[in-house]
Structures are given as structure tokens and as C-alpha cells.
């Protein structure tokens, strides 16, 4: 078990899912309440990483953000290094990669808030921002936790993007899934086994939290 890789991955997932709460809430808010006719295009863009192969994302990070592109040169002049092979590069790749896993549960829970409550709040003199903070956010707690947990778990298991842009540097870009891959290539099956088991348990616990929060014990089945 490579604990360095494990904690690196936990750090990556924590940073990414926290940033996604900050980025995802405004996007989800806009997606829920906007009446713009082209909104579906934005929805499709946000959902892209679900269907896009991670290699496509990795390719873009490597080439479009590499030192041959204007964007990459701008980043290089700012920070002194390219995005590939750095922890920041993994954070940016993972933000894109896990975006829908945060935004979609957020938007779904915002949309599930009863509009009557919003109207009542407005008629009592609350601004839209106050209504959002006092009514929508508290009622969307389960959705927010779900989005956080799903994007955390999704980043934990990220492989393709990291393999393409990480460069496998211990303590910087060697994440736990890359470590498992290397262990298997070296035929260290017992080490791979332990690491895989830890990931399996962590993922199961995270998903149990998500489903536990969203469970509806009062659901009545059609067979009743």
C-alpha cells in the first residue's frame, strides 16, 4: 500500500470537490432558473465529461494547454512551468472531469424545491439572493452533499487523464489508481490487491453516505 499516493489522491479529491462546490453552485443556480432558449447547449456542455473519454480530456490538457499553445504559454509565463506533470494540472483536469458529478445533483435539488416556497419568500420581501440562501440552499442539503461526495469519489478513481498528463511523479502526480496500475504491471499483485481493496471500501462508504442521505423510507411501491 502506497500511502504517499493515497494521501496525494485524497488531497486532490478534497481540493477538487471543494472547488466544485464553489464553482458548481452558481452554474447549477443558473441552469435551474435561467429561461434562456439556448440553455440546453450549456447543459450539454456541462454533461460532456460524463460521456467524453478521459483520453480526450487528457489530450486537450496536454496539447491545447501545452507549451506550444497560446494558453499554455500564458500559463507558463505566469507560473514558470507547463500544466502537464504538475499537481495544478491534475486539479484543472479533474475539475473538468468531475464537473457534472457536482453540478447535476446541485441543479436537481435546486429544481426540486417547491416554487410556492420561493413565491412566499419573495412576497415577504426577500431578494432572490436571500431566498436562495435561506430557502433553496437549506432544502438542497442532500443534493449538495451528494454532489460533493460524487465528485470526490469520481476524482478518487480518475485514471485516464492522470495517465496522460501526470508523468507519474511520486508525491506530485502519482495517484492511487496509477499506483495500482504500476503494481499490476510489475506483477506485485498482493500490493495491488491491498490498494484496490482500500479504494473499494472508500468508494463504497462514500456511495453509501450518498444513498443513505437520499433514501426515502416512506416510498410506496406499486405492489402495495
Amino acid at each position: 500500500m502506497n500511502w504517499e499516493a493515497f494521501w496525494l489522491t485524497v488531497r486532490l479529491a478534497t481540493i477538487v470537490s471543494t472547488l466544485l462546490v464553489a464553482i458548481g453552485i452558481p452554474i447549477a443556480y443558473w441552469l435551474t432558473y435561467s429561461r434562456w432558449r439556448w440553455k440546453f447547449l450549456v447543459e450539454a456542455t456541462v454533461a460532456l465529461p460524463i460521456v467524453l473519454p478521459p483520453t480526450v480530456l487528457g489530450f486537450y490538457v496536454l496539447v491545447a494547454l501545452g507549451s506550444r499553445s497560446p494558453l499554455g504559454r500564458w500559463w507558463e509565463s505566469l507560473t514558470g512551468h507547463t500544466l502537464a506533470f504538475t499537481f495544478e494540472g491534475l486539479v484543472i483536469g479533474s475539475l473538468l472531469y468531475s464537473l457534472p458529478f457536482a453540478v447535476q445533483p446541485f441543479a436537481a435539488s435546486f429544481g426540486a424545491v417547491d416554487p410556492k416556497l420561493l413565491h412566499a419568500s419573495a412576497s415577504l420581501g426577500h431578494s432572490p439572493a436571500q431566498t436562495f440562501r435561506r430557502i433553496v440552499l437549506p432544502l438542497s442539503k442532500a443534493g449538495l452533499v451528494t454532489g460533493f461526495a460524487l465528485s470526490f469519489a469520481h476524482t478518487l478513481g480518475e485514471f485516464g487523464v492522470v495517465l496522460m498528463v501526470g508523468g507519474n511523479i511520486p508525491g506530485v502526480t502519482r495517484t492511487i489508481s496509477i499506483d495500482i496500475y504500476d503494481q499490476v504491471q510489475m506483477a506485485n499483485y498482493s500490493s495491488a490487491n491491498w490498494t484496490a481493496l482500500v479504494l473499494l471500501i472508500v468508494s463504497f462508504v462514500l456511495l453509501s453516505v450518498v444513498y443513505g442521505l437520499n433514501r426515502r423510507p416512506w416510498t410506496v411501491g406499486p405492489w402495495r
Partner: protein
């Protein structure tokens, strides 16, 4: 005939068709990724038999073979992986054959300011070199060769924090070709390949700086097409194949067995 049995008949037809065509699958070290498609095309032209190609680091492929990958021939970038497979009964002893010697080069993009011919390996100490791409020494023979060469020139400790590891030597080449790394220790066969030839300069690492990359080929025990597999290895020994390999910088190994 029921729909199910029709489906089964169709499936049989497909699988049967494949076996009759005598198509073999060759798993090859990543340094062969430019040369082997040409070799396979020449082989198909000569014999009418088709060859499917799979590339990866030699360690990666060996691990796949251990887990039942349906390959017929394994072209490794070293001799250790094929020998281990033979020892474990997964490859056929008397088919082992050194088909080439691989060469390691230090490669930089064309726009690099480094003077490789003057500085050689010491060019890597230049401050403009922020990342150095090598193949992963854990499972790629070229990665081990790169590490050995860096130690030979006694600069390993000074550059190790700047190393980035490609999954195999092809990815190491891609890291430096794309400009994300400023220098790379890659295969000569890639430096000479059409896709990289005009994009950079290289310096050939002297042979005494790393253990010789004796690249060995072997037929796998599980192959159901032993004859076709041997035939392909026979072709690899022939004049046409050796000339093609030579054009990619591979030299012929000293005959030892």
C-alpha cells in the same frame, strides 16, 4: 431454427472465419511502434497473412500475457521478460530469438537551444530543461536503460526530481515531442520515425552507458497458431525485415544462441 441458435451459428461463423484466415496477433514493445507496422505490411504482402499489432511497455505486455492475453508472438525490448515467460511455461523455449538491439537517444525539440553534440548528456543539467521524459523504469526496459545511463554519467541525483515517467517509451517521446518536457531519453527508432524525424535533434547515448537492450522475440505457449507465429519470426530474420529494422536504427545482435 430459433433466434438463439441462429445467433450461435453466426458466432461460430465469425470465430471460425478468424481461425481459418490465420491472423496472428503480435504484442510488441513500444519502441517498435513505428517500424513494426511497416514490417507487418511487408509480411502481408509477401505471404498474404495478416498480423494484428498490440503495443505497450514490455513489462505491461508480459503482465498481460501472464493473465491470458490472446497473443501469438511477443517482441520484447529486452531479453528478461521473454526468459521469465519461458521459465514459467508461458513461452516456447526454442523460439527465443534476438531480433534487434535497441538504442537509447537523448532527444530535444528542434527549437531547443541545447547543443547536444557538444554537451551530450550534460545538456540535461541546463536550467532550461525543467522536465525530462523517460519511460517508466518499473516496467519499461527503455526506462531502465535511461536510468542506468543517467547514473553512468553521474547526473541521476541532480536530475531525478525533474524526471517524468511515460507509460512506455512512446509516451515518453510524446511528452517531449508535444513540448511538455524539454528533453527526453527515448528510442532511436522513434527519433528516426517519420512522425518525429523533422521535429527535433538527438544524441545517441553510447552503448557502454547502459546494459545492452537485446530485444528478444518469442512464440507464446498458449498460441493456437504456433506455425504461423514461427513463420512470422522466420520473416523477422530475413533480409527484408533486417534492412527495414536497420533503417529505424536497430542493429543486429551478436549471435549467442
Amino acid at each position: 431454427m430459433s433466434a438463439m441458435s441462429k445467433l450461435m451459428a453466426l458466432l461460430l461463423l465469425f470465430t471460425g472465419g478468424c481461425a481459418a484466415a490465420q491472423e496472428i496477433t503480435v504484442a510488441a514493445a513500444a519502441d517498435m511502434s513505428a517500424a513494426l507496422p511497416q514490417l507487418a505490411a511487408a509480411y502481408t504482402k509477401q505471404t498474404g497473412l495478416t498480423v494484428k499489432l498490440v503495443f505497450g511497455s514490455s513489462g505491461n505486455l508480459a503482465s498481460q500475457i501472464r493473465n491470458g492475453a490472446p497473443y501469438d508472438v511477443f517482441l520484447s525490448a529486452d531479453e528478461d521478460y521473454p526468459r521469465q515467460l519461458i521459465a514459467d511455461g508461458l513461452a516456447v523455449q526454442n523460439t527465443l530469438y534476438r531480433y534487434a538491439v535497441g538504442r537509447l537517444v537523448l532527444w530535444v525539440p528542434a527549437d531547443s537551444s541545447l547543443d547536444l553534440s557538444k554537451q551530450g548528456m550534460a545538456a540535461l543539467l541546463d536550467p532550461s530543461v525543467k522536465k525530462i521524459a523517460i519511460a517508466n523504469p518499473a516496467h519499461a526496459p527503455y526506462g531502465r536503460a535511461a536510468e542506468a545511463a543517467l547514473r553512468h554519467f553521474e547526473i541521476y541525483d541532480r536530475v531525478s526530481s525533474r524526471l517524468v515517467l511515460g507509460e512506455n517509451v512512446s509516451q515518453a517521446a510524446q511528452f517531449v515531442e508535444s513540448g511538455n518536457a524539454q528533453a527526453g531519453l527515448i528510442a532511436l527508432s522513434h527519433a528516426l520515425a517519420p512522425s518525429l524525424k523533422d521535429k527535433g535533434r538527438y544524441w545517441t547515448v553510447p552503448l557502454d552507458a547502459y546494459p545492452t537492450l537485446n530485444q528478444a522475440a518469442v512464440v507464446l505457449s498458449k498460441s493456437k497458431q504456433q506455425d504461423a507465429a514461427r513463420k512470422f519470426l522466420e520473416f523477422l530474420r530475413g533480409p527484408e525485415a533486417t534492412a527495414l529494422l536497420a533503417s529505424y536504427g536497430f542493429t543486429l545482435p551478436a549471435e549467442t544462441h
